[in-house]
């Protein structure tokens, strides 16, 4: 946390305190917006056109990863470069949990945010990436406050709920958001001496626990992801305290598709104008709903525009072993 004084004549030397502020600064700029999963240049352009604040470049959306199985890894750098060249908004990409070499590659490509994501197959069963070692900011998933604070201690500049990706079922995004918000609220009424035990129970650094106890909120922006599929889902998460939403499979999947039959060419170019129009209408409606989350009249209008919502997969019907959210610790 040493202050290195001001940089000289545009010199790029930045102290670590500056580095963290710049990372969180970009997260601040993304507030109140929608970050959309995209698998090709065309989808990235549709997302930008619809008003997304950023895109997440992926080879397969979570619903496809769920359906197809296998090891899910970082996207091909060529795809990421193409998407970076195609849009003017920030581009994010996912690295496997603990896979710092994938993260180094993503930083080299000029990705604006790295998602150390449970949606990909973890590369390390004990360690997450040391995110302080990077200039590029990281977002990480969390199911409770302790997990969120452990990720922040490792250098994450943004937290998102894990939810259950690729299902189109918002129930666990709600569960995780409520859990984090409730745990933050409970910290605010504890005395100083009780905070030491709270830190132990949350398995998180005392300094961060004490910071949350003072402010009642995370020291970095708190976004939501995992199963958000409709404008109403986005509004729900915003009203529960999310500062932005990530939308994955809910936009670029074929009408009524479930995560188990997505092999019906969801990756393909959206040549069919009807499919393209559907994806656009879903994307726009979720963007509108995220800004006007507190305005039911506008939400009704936005929801009306949506055709062909993802059929989805109820999380309650999934086996424990099929859950992505239990990856990471």
């Amino acid at each position: 946390m040493k202050e290195h004084g001001s940089s000289h004549n545009g010199h790029k030397a930045q102290s670590s305190e500056h580095g963290l502020r710049l990372k969180v600064g970009l997260a601040e700029m993304l507030k109140g917006g929608v970050i959309m999963d995209v698998m090709n240049v065309e989808q990235a352009k549709i997302a930008e056109q619809a008003g997304a604040v950023a895109v997440m470049a992926l080879e397969r959306v979570p619903a496809m990863i769920r359906a197809e199985g296998g090891v899910a890894r970082m996207a091909n750098p060529k795809l990421i470069r193409e998407i970076i060249a195609a849009v003017s908004i920030p581009v994010m990409a996912k690295a496997r949990i603990g896979h710092f070499a994938e993260a180094q590659i993503l930083q080299e490509l000029g990705v604006d945010f790295i998602d150390e994501s449970e949606v990909l197959t973890p590369a390390d069963e004990a360690h997450h990436i040391d995110k302080h070692a990077f200039k590029t900011p990281f977002v990480c998933g969390a199911r409770d406050l302790g997990e969120a604070l452990r990720r922040i201690a490792e250098g994450a500049a943004m937290i998102r709920t894990k939810g259950e990706a690729g299902t189109g079922d918002v129930v666990h995004a709600v569960k995780h958001m409520r859990q984090i918000v409730q745990e933050m609220k409970s910290l605010t009424v504890l005395s100083d001496q009780e905070l030491y035990v709270a830190a132990k129970e949350h398995r998180a650094p005392y300094e961060l626990v004490s910071m949350v106890a003072k402010t009642g909120k995370l020291p970095v922006p708190n976004f939501s992801a995992g199963g958000i599929a409709t404008p109403a889902d986005a509004a729900l998460m915003m009203q529960l305290g999310a500062e932005s939403v990530f939308v994955g499979s809910g936009i670029f999947m074929k009408e009524r598709a479930t995560p188990l039959d997505v092999e019906c060419d969801a990756t393909g170019q959206l040549n069919n104008p009807a499919e393209r129009a559907e994806a656009e209408s879903r994307a726009k409606a979720i963007v509108i709903a995220t800004t006007h989350y507190n305005d039911p009249k506008t939400l009704a209008e936005a929801s009306e525009q949506v055709t062909g919502t993802m059929k989805g997969l109820a999380v309650a019907g999934l086996d424990e072993s099929q859950l992505l959210q239990t990856r990471g610790w």
């Binding site: 970009l26 970076i84 604006d112 006007h292």
Partner: protein, 240 residues
């Protein structure tokens, strides 16, 4: 500036507030809108509170009515435009910013400019400047710098911390635009009459000089004839 009945003030001083109308002393605070489509509008709102103004979040065109000024925050200008293109928001905003003090930071600066490059996109077109988006590169090129300012005699002249996040660059400005701060020879804080624009994020620093400067501009506009606000464009203002 505080417009209070002196009798009430006396009663308040004695702590006898039970029957007094609420908060009348607060009405003199300038009410400044913050465009809240998306972006770091909360950071601007708390900066405005720090300097004694009342922030009002603006998500729809009708919410511009009655405001003394407006801040267009940082965020994604392409996202802003999607909302502004609906319900005549862009026209309402243009009409508002043509007369009332308006301050744009980063994406807000892009929206105010007459010409936008890289890629070209629509804008309010009222600040005589050419602005290039993402001109310094990607997030990895974001930086915190310090710069000298020319805010005038009311302000400390010490260096100002400037936070650049995927920042745009003001390539050139018209004759009526004064440059209040520079980075590597390019303007980063400019004023044209009742318009103020920054390519950096003063709301992300603890230094409140730039917000105070803007609130002063709002005060000047309110003190001058309130019904002909557009005139203030041509009013002489404090120059370096």
């Amino acid at each position: 500036m505080v417009k209070t009945n002196p009798a009430w003030r006396a009663l308040r001083a004695e702590g006898k507030t039970a029957n007094l109308p609420e908060e009348k002393t607060e009405t003199a605070k300038p009410r400044i809108g913050v465009l809240a489509i998306q972006g770091d509008y909360d950071a601007h709102a708390s900066a405005l509170q720090d300097v004694g103004a009342e922030p009002v979040l603006v998500r729809k065109p009708e919410q511009l009515k009655g405001l003394d000024g407006l801040i267009i925050p940082g965020g994604e200008s392409t996202t802003f435009l999607k909302f502004l293109e609906r319900d005549g928001f862009l026209e309402s905003l243009r009409a508002f910013a043509a007369g009332a003090p308006t301050f744009g930071t980063c994406a807000g600066c892009i929206l105010l400019a007459t010409k936008v490059l890289h890629p070209p996109q629509p804008s309010l077109g009222i600040l005589d400047a050419t602005v290039e988006r993402n001109a310094y590169g990607r997030q990895i090129d974001s930086s915190i710098e310090e710069t000298a300012t020319k805010l005038g005699p009311d302000f400390d002249t010490g260096p100002l911390e400037t936070v650049y996040i995927r920042a745009p660059r003001i390539q050139q400005v018209g004759k009526g635009v004064s440059v209040l701060a520079e980075r590597d020879g390019f303007p980063v804080l400019v004023r044209q009459g009742h318009l103020l624009a920054a390519t950096f994020h003063p709301e992300l620093s603890t230094d409140r000089r730039v917000h105070r400067y803007f609130v002063n501009m709002v005060g000047e506009a309110r003190d001058s004839t309130p019904h002909s606000a557009p005139e203030s464009i041509h009013k002489p203002h404090r120059k370096s």
